[in-house]
């Protein structure tokens, strides 16, 4: 009997010990409206996906809290000649499974990100070869002198070669084709946190990596990512204390959160521009009723542009938290000027006239595709656009769906008229042109094609003379702006709401860096 009781006592005290331990764990509960699309670090170039990968994976170089480039996996680097770069790696880095990180892994990851199924291949399309000189030195060759190589490399995450080999993850997951791979639900990086539980769209648990190489500046044991699509539910969960931080607090609730006394709100102009795309190459619109493609005519695109009352959207839908945009890039990016960012005037009469002049006096039918869980008030903006276009006689039907479906169908060339937002992680206009404007570019779903712009993009990639390079950027922006290749809406302002006891520094790219976060 005595022995039995002893067992019980030991078990109970162990249980109590264990449960106090888990209470004592410093956990940040983080929520946003959508989840990361995949854990594969090279499969999807999308905001929240990178946000999650950034906590787990690391790159050769990275942007710090102040958005300047600094060393991460590489300690030093130099260009031995204009097209050759040598990176010296840290020697004390180990992956979450305990394997040492060497130049093999870096070479493997860079080559992996260049595979056809990678969504990051545009970042490093100028790289012609990657070689390991020894265990901790990597040599990268570029086609031409590349002035923005470091910016680009800051988004190419390094994963374990051995782990990828063992788990059939040598090439990135083919996300567009709906492929499911081991690497999409598991991660093996070197970052300050490791993923211990992954339930897509429900819960992702990050645990502190105790063997991380860097100086630990956070005091967290765990991060729980709990996506909640409904805005009101998300705010209710935050205010009730169930969540610690929401990185896309709904604009209509900021006042309520601020006045709670227990929570705080921080807002910053985000490095992201929201715009509408209009397919100008298809012979016939998929959702149209005219039998041709009205978007081929610039007048029609301009009519759409001038029919949109962006100030009303700013005031009523965004509650003042946006700045109307004339181009798809924002202050701080090389090539941005205030002059370019000016919009065409809002003028319904002019829009009607343009539409009539183009041969559509009675308008036409068209479908607007829209995500409903990606950008700030995305669905509400689209609904407002539907109403505004209705005023010039265009009958728009709205197809709003969750972002994973929206993006997949766009990539599948199913959209005539769609909403998209674009951030610029490299802080250089080249990134925008390379993805959105270059002929056949992967996100150029309006099928814009202009030889002069393509030539200017080549200059941006190879020109080290900054003056000439800037001239090329300015020229390219002027062409695409005059042609109304896209219909820019606004630069997004992002607001984070959190408990007062939680300190996660806000950054203009909307990426939290939990390695700098504290919770009291």
């Amino acid at each position: 009997m005595k022995v039995k009781n002893l067992y019980k006592i030991v078990l109970v005290s162990l249980f109590v010990f264990w449960s106090t331990l888990s209470w004592a764990a410093n956990t940040i509960k983080w929520s946003m409206q959508g989840d990361s699309l995949t854990l594969d670090p090279h499969a999807q170039n999308e905001g929240p996906t990178t946000m999650v990968s950034r906590q787990v994976y690391e790159a050769l170089v990275t942007r710090g809290l102040d958005m300047s480039i600094g060393p991460q996996l590489a300690t030093t680097w130099k260009a031995t000649n204009p097209t050759t770069w040598v990176f010296n790696l840290r020697k004390d880095v180990i992956f979450h499974n305990g394997d040492k990180m060497t130049s093999e892994d870096v070479v493997f990851s860079l080559l992996r990100a260049q595979q056809p199924t990678s969504d990051f291949k545009e970042y490093i399309s100028t790289i012609t070869s990657v070689k390991a000189l020894d265990d901790y030195t990597v040599e990268i060759q570029t086609k031409e002198p590349n002035p923005i190589l470091l910016n680009q490399l800051s988004n190419i995450f390094v994963m374990s070669k051995k782990w990828a080999n063992e788990n059939f993850a040598i090439v990135p997951q083919n996300w567009d084709a709906g492929q499911e791979t081991f690497s999409a639900t598991n991660a093996m990086g070197t970052g300050p946190f490791k993923i211990t539980l992954r339930e897509p769209n429900t819960k992702t648990v990050f645990k502190k990596n105790r063997k991380w190489w860097g100086e630990v500046k956070h005091n967290l044991d765990e991060i729980h990512l709990l996506p909640i699509a409904n805005a009101a539910t998300r705010v209710a969960a935050l205010l009730s204390g169930e969540l610690d931080i929401v990185t896309d607090a709904p604009v209509q609730d900021l006042e309520r959160i601020r006045s709670s006394g227990t929570h705080k709100v921080s807002s910053i102009e985000q490095m992201r521009t929201i715009f509408l795309g209009m397919d100008q190459a298809a012979d016939k619109l998929r959702s149209g009723n005219t039998g041709d493609n009205p978007f081929k005519k610039k007048e029609v695109r301009q009519a759409f542009y001038q029919a949109i009352d962006i100030e009303a959207i700013k005031e009523k839908v965004m509650r003042g938290l946006s700045s109307p945009a004339g181009i798809i890039t924002f202050p701080g990016v090389t090539g941005y000027t205030k002059e370019l960012d000016k919009r065409l005037s809002y003028d319904v009469a002019a829009a009607k006239k343009l539409l009539a002049g183009a041969g559509y006096p009675d308008g036409f039918d068209i479908e607007l595709r829209c995500p409903n869980d990606r950008y700030v008030n995305d669905e509400a903006i689209c609904t407002a656009v539907v109403g505004m276009l209705g005023k010039i006689g265009v009958n728009v039907s709205l197809n709003s769906q969750t972002k994973s479906k929206h993006f997949k169908e766009l990539k599948d060339d199913q959209g005539d008229f769609y909403m998209l937002g674009w951030g610029v992680p490299t802080l250089d206009s080249h990134y925008v042109f390379h993805y959105l404007y270059e002929s056949e570019a992967s996100w150029n779903k309006v099928n814009f094609s202009n030889a002069e712009v393509d030539a200017a993009i080549r200059v941006m990639e190879g020109e080290v003379d900054l003056e000439k390079r800037n001239a090329a950027i300015a020229k390219a922006w002027k062409i695409v702006k005059d042609d109304i290749a896209y219909l820019p809406l606004h630069h997004q302002v992002i607001s984070w709401a959190s408990k007062r006891s939680v300190d996660v520094p806000i950054r203009p790219n909307n990426e939290p860096l939990f390695r700098f976060s504290k919770k009291r």
């Binding site: 409904n230 805005a231 009101a232 705010v235 209710a236 205010l239 709904p250 209509q252 609730d253 006042e255 309520r256 009352d309 009303a312 959207i313 005031e315 009523k316 839908v317 509400a380 609904t383 407002a384 539907v386 109403g387 505004m388 276009l389 209705g390 005023k391 039907s397 709205l398 197809n399 709003s400 769906q401």
Partner: protein, 308 residues
């Protein structure tokens, strides 16, 4: 024989139901409310001051106008506007029309299905009856909202997205209808079991009247009382089910909002103080369902002699 030549009106005025109706204030009040709601919903183009689905009449700058009696209210928007600048009063009326159409059609669908199955199984009996009744048992164990969600999910799987938006209202009618029919089947079967052994049925059978004729011409009119009672209460349930499904986002598409969709949209603004966007559709739904239920209760009391 002279009695049959009396006018319809005088027959109604002479009936027990009419007498009981005039003596029940709840029935009168709820009937008046329902008549007003039905009238406003079905002649909404005449009643509503705005057409919320005509984009040319909307202005985003009118968005979030509070109800007319509050400080920033505007007289032309009696109940305020939503986030798109739509007049709440008009939107609610248009929305209630969709809710009512779905509710009525769904209950009619389940009534026809349920009564047909219940009547035939009660009349024929045997294995057929057993199968139908076990089927209702199985279905009664599945909550009706769950059943409707299931049907909607399957429909989304087999119908393409574009087609689904057009078909959504039919899918919804089917989904709600299919989840309510066991009630009707059970009640009509029980009533049929009683009627089947009565002399008038045997008499018809002896002179060689066909089974179908006996069932639908002779028995059916005699079992309609209990069916109508649960039909009325079922109507309220169907309208609520439609709102629930739309609130969950699986009902009618947001471009043609029903009451449930309106409540869902307004739900996003509850914290920010724009309470009227969700409050008025919700209160309208409550009044509608409450009135139908009261009328149903009165009908049950009147039509069921045992309770008198």
């Amino acid at each position: 024989m002279d009695n049959q030549r009396l006018t319809l009106l005088s027959r109604i005025q002479d009936s027990d139901i009419y007498f009981s109706f005039t003596k029940s204030p709840t029935a009168i009040v709820s009937t008046i409310i329902l008549i007003i709601i039905f009238f406003c919903s079905f002649f909404v183009e005449l009643v509503a001051p705005f057409n919320p689905f005509d984009p040319s009449s909307l202005s985003l700058m009118d968005a979030f106008t509070p109800p007319s009696w509050s400080k920033d209210g505007v007289a032309k928007f009696i109940l305020g506007t939503d986030g798109q600048g739509r007049d709440m009063f008009s939107t609610i009326l248009y929305g209630s029309r969709i809710s009512l159409i779905v509710g009525f059609s769904a209950i009619l669908f389940s009534l026809i299905l349920g009564v047909t199955l219940g009547l035939t199984s009660g009349y024929f009996g045997g294995k057929y009856e057993m199968i139908v009744m076990r089927l209702t048992d199985v279905q009664l164990t599945v909550p009706s909202i769950l059943m409707a969600l299931l049907v909607d999910g399957i429909a989304r799987g087999i119908i393409s997205k574009e087609l689904h938006d057009e078909m959504a209202i039919y899918v919804l009618i089917f989904a709600i209808g299919i989840s309510e029919w066991p009630q009707f089947a059970r009640v009509s079967r029980a009533a049929t079991l009683v009627e089947r052994n009565k002399d008038y049925v045997s008499a018809s059978a002896i002179i060689g009247v066909s089974n179908i004729f006996i069932m639908f011409k002779h028995i059916l009119p005699n079992i309609m009382r209990p069916v109508l009672v649960i039909g009325t209460i079922g109507l309220a349930l169907a309208i609520i089910a439609e709102s629930t499904l739309s609130f969950l986002g699986v009902g009618v598409p947001p471009t043609t909002p029903s009451l449930g969709t309106l409540i869902r949209i307004g739900n996003d603004f509850l914290f920010s103080g724009e309470w009227w966007i969700t409050f008025f559709p919700a209160i309208f739904l409550v009044i509608l369902a409450f009135s139908i239920n009261l009328l149903g209760d009165w009908m049950r009391d009147t039509l069921n002699p045992k309770l008198n």
